[in-house]
Symmetry: C2
């Protein structure tokens, strides 16, 4: 995992998958997820979350949903916190070096647009949105693992 952009201890069940970006003279093609890929847990809903530059959204914890997170634009730090294990991680994904972050149910997650620019996150979620299966907490509740250049 040393070449992947992770700071801290990646909680069990989290999968970080590098994705192909295929050069094309009219605009590159970027892989996202195929049914059956590592981390795929069924398709329930796809939705986008914009993040203003410097902003952090979270914390949120899903009870049943598996998240498959992509970064179509910008650079995002995904902050993960395993409350039972008492540890966490930050995973940095840049649209130029695409990767997919699979987050199993039960982990707290927040995410930040870094580098001053806005960013965009796509969640290919295993379930359709259901506020009853998610908990939220203020950002101050858990420490975030600071990103360090690997």
């Amino acid at each position: 995992m040393s070449s992947l952009p992770v700071a801290g201890t990646l909680p069990a069940g989290v999968v970080l998958t590098p994705l192909r970006r295929i050069a094309h003279p009219l605009g590159d093609v970027v892989h996202g997820m195929k049914a059956g890929d590592d981390g795929f847990a069924g398709f329930g809903e796809a939705y986008f979350s914009h993040v203003l530059g410097g902003a952090t959204k979270g914390w949120k914890r899903h009870r049943r949903m598996v998240l498959n997170l992509l970064v179509p634009a910008g650079t995002v730090d995904f902050h993960l916190h395993d409350e039972a294990g008492g540890h966490g991680a930050t995973v940095r994904i840049d649209a130029q070096s695409p990767a997919r972050l699979t987050v199993p149910p039960g982990l707290w997650m927040a995410f930040s647009a870094v580098g001053g620019a806005p960013a965009l996150v796509l969640n290919l979620a295993s379930l359709p949105h259901d506020p009853a299966e998610a908990d939220t907490a203020p950002l101050e509740r858990f420490a975030r693992v600071p990103w360090e250049m690997p």
Copy 2:
């Protein structure tokens, strides 16, 4: 359909679905597709296609894949051509007024980034990529329906 951004005659089976963009102080949330939505035909693969400003990609015709096309960034003209029916349409989708374009198998499709800026297209495809189920043709082969302000 008068309020939807269509020029020409939309081929049978094409579905254009306006999507919600939910304002959020840290960055808006934008709907994409839920399993079971109008136009959903199963999940095979999600992939992105960047388009440089002014560029047009196509023509391409899928024999089995249903495309569900979203525009996370920029403005895109989707050109559709029904070769059997001898007619076509242009559908314009802007990331600020999101919509989902469902394209059934058998239609020729090309797409352009308009307005001078690059654009991004997400295809939530019903099948994983398989070059054997798609045909391509040069842009000159079919006339494109010019966009006119509705």
